[in-house]
């Protein structure tokens, strides 16, 4: 059920003209941003690392807007009621949507790397290529599970996009996707430590430039499993509240 649901939701999302245009434009912008930021900082040798960070930003944006937007889209299409009406636990209904947003987001990572290579001559020279592939897969699943936790909040909100908009940039920053966490104020460290995006981005960076990949992958997985557990419980509660507050439909 999860596999079929994920694939069909990914199919539905990837056929949206809006998503297709975004998918074409955003990676070019992000690759450019990363390259010029690091070039101006005199860190020419870290361009690949910068491109990977920019790509993870794309995955995060896809999950964040995908999870919020997908549920809002389900409302607009009138499908939210239909899928919540299925005799399944709410987590099994929503999880395929959020993992599908991670799956479509992986395109942003790949496209950022490809554009970086062809437009700016970034050499795709990974320190641990196999670990990079594994870390990327873990990152997608982890962000999908984090998206599930966000979705639990989004189901109750009629304007989920408002929450999504406020979360995009802070998480980019705090997770160290582009700027190293060490340059951020110390009060951001505890927040960074509990975000799966921090550990996913770190695992990918270590696979790119060298470093202990697997501990970061393990922490990322552990946090995302926690997100799954909390998200599943929250969704059960949220579904009941939505039935009481009549927020499943637009009516």
């Amino acid at each position: 059920m999860l596999a079929v649901g994920t694939l069909l939701h990914a199919k539905q999302m990837s056929r949206s003209p809006f998503e297709v245009v975004l998918a074409l434009v955003v990676p070019v912008v992000q690759a450019t941003l990363a390259v010029y930021l690091f070039r101006s900082g005199g860190e020419q040798h870290r361009l690949l690392e910068a491109a990977v960070g920019a790509g993870v930003m794309g995955v995060w944006s896809s999950v964040l807007f995908g999870s919020g937007g997908a549920i809002q889209n389900q409302r607009w299409q009138g499908t939210l009621e239909m899928i919540m009406l299925a005799p399944r636990r709410p987590v099994l209904v929503i999880l395929p949507i959020t993992v599908a947003t991670g799956l479509t987001g992986i395109y942003a990572l790949l496209a950022t790397l490809v554009w970086g290579h062809f437009l700016y001559g970034i050499r795709l020279d990974f320190a641990h290529p196999v670990a990079f592939v594994v870390a990327a897969a873990v990152c997608v699943v982890a962000l999908g599970l984090f998206g599930l936790l966000l979705a639990a909040t989004f189901v109750l909100m009629r304007n989920a996009n408002a929450l999504a908009n406020t979360l995009e940039y802070p998480v980019w920053l705090v997770s160290g996707m582009l700027v190293p966490i060490t340059v951020l104020p110390s009060w951001t460290s505890p927040i960074a430590a509990v975000l799966p995006t921090t550990w996913g981005a770190r695992a990918l960076r270590e696979a790119t430039s060298g470093g202990p990949v697997w501990p970061s992958v393990a922490v990322c997985l552990a946090i995302s499993l926690l997100c799954l557990t909390v998200g599943a419980l929250a969704l059960t509660h949220v579904e009941r509240r939505a039935r009481a507050a009549a927020t499943l439909a637009l009516a």
Partner: protein
């Protein structure tokens, strides 16, 4: 099913609460359903009729677990809709009218595959079941096309196939024929009648009296959140006994003329229905009073079409019941 009834609603109530504004929040409450009680027997085709905003869709959503009642209880196939949600959902199908509710960028087949998974149809049975339903609703051969290219009638048929995937014991049909052309609507009625004949309990809401008259074993008329009348179509038709109906086709009738008709001796109710440029005036009167002459006198100077005096129909009975509730 352990219970005698497929559906039991007992004093169901539902209040919608809304809050607007941040600094000075304003709270509003709307009582959409105000103490609805009825039972539907197994295999019965039960109609819920009422004007817009009467509480039909809210009642259906309370019964199919999409909403939690503010008070009162309901059971479907013996299971409580609030506490035994999953048991109820396994036994029910829900189909609503309109364009929404499908994945437009997926094919009809992908939509059915997805919902078959969601509704727990075993993988080995899915192919056969989907093929059966595509045949039933006349979409065989078009299933690989994207839903965004489907006509409204095709979408509606796909909705029905989706609602039947898991062979539900109880089917909720919320205005399924809305916006469907007459030929498709007739096919839809045939499908619904066949389902009921095969033992599926159907709860149908509709605006179309002919549809309710043709299909339903019993009908409940709901207005202002409460049931105003309940019975077989012939029982309800008798609610208009002792009446006579005059129908006048007219063009450009002012509100003052309609008010004047209402004040004529012997007139019980008047209704105006706009049909493009034409207005159809319906005047209910006591059967022993011939109001046709008075009506035409009041409409003097207004361009008129057909004028007809006839026995009341189920629709007239419905108008009488709803008007009495207003």
């Amino acid at each position: 099913m352990g219970s005698t009834y497929a559906i039991e609603a007992n004093d169901l109530r539902r209040t919608y609460r809304a809050r607007t504004g941040w600094l000075k929040p304003k709270r509003t409450e709307v009582e959409a359903v105000r103490g609805v009680s009825f039972t539907v027997g197994r295999g019965e085709l039960f109609g819920l009729l009422g004007p817009n905003g009467a509480g039909k869709t809210t009642t259906i959503k309370l019964l199919n677990t999409l909403l939690i009642p503010t008070s009162g209880t309901a059971r479907v196939c013996g299971h409580d809709v609030e506490r035994e949600t999953r048991a109820v959902r396994r036994r029910i199908g829900y189909v609503f009218g309109g364009d929404r509710g499908l994945y437009d960028r997926l094919s009809g087949l992908d939509n059915l595959r997805y919902f078959a998974e969601l509704y727990g149809v075993p993988p080995r049975e899915q192919k056969r079941r989907i093929a059966e339903l595509l045949d039933l609703v006349g979409l065989a051969g078009r299933e690989r096309e994207r839903v965004e290219g489907y006509s409204r009638g095709m979408r509606q048929r796909l909705h029905i196939a989706r609602g039947l995937l898991h062979a539900p014991d109880v089917l909720f049909l919320d205005e399924p024929s809305i916006g469907v052309d007459p030929v498709a609507a007739r096919e839809l009625r045939r499908t619904v009648a066949d389902l009921a004949a095969a033992g599926t309990t159907v709860l149908l809401t509709t605006h179309y009296m002919a549809e309710a008259d043709e299909l339903c074993d019993r009908i409940a008329v709901i207005a202002d959140g409460t049931i105003q009348a309940l019975g077989t179509p012939s029982e309800l038709r008798r609610r208009a006994d002792g009446r006579r109906v005059v129908e006048v086709e007219a063009y450009g009738v002012p509100e003052s003329a309609v008010s004047a008709l209402r004040d004529l001796p012997g007139v019980r109710e008047t209704a105006v229905e706009a049909r493009g440029a034409l207005q159809l005036l319906t005047v209910h009167s006591d059967a022993h009073v011939d109001v046709q002459g008075d009506v035409l006198r009041e409409l003097a100077g207004i361009r008129l079409g057909r004028v007809d005096s006839r026995e009341p129909t189920l629709e007239d009975a419905y108008v009488a019941i709803v008007s009495a509730a207003a």
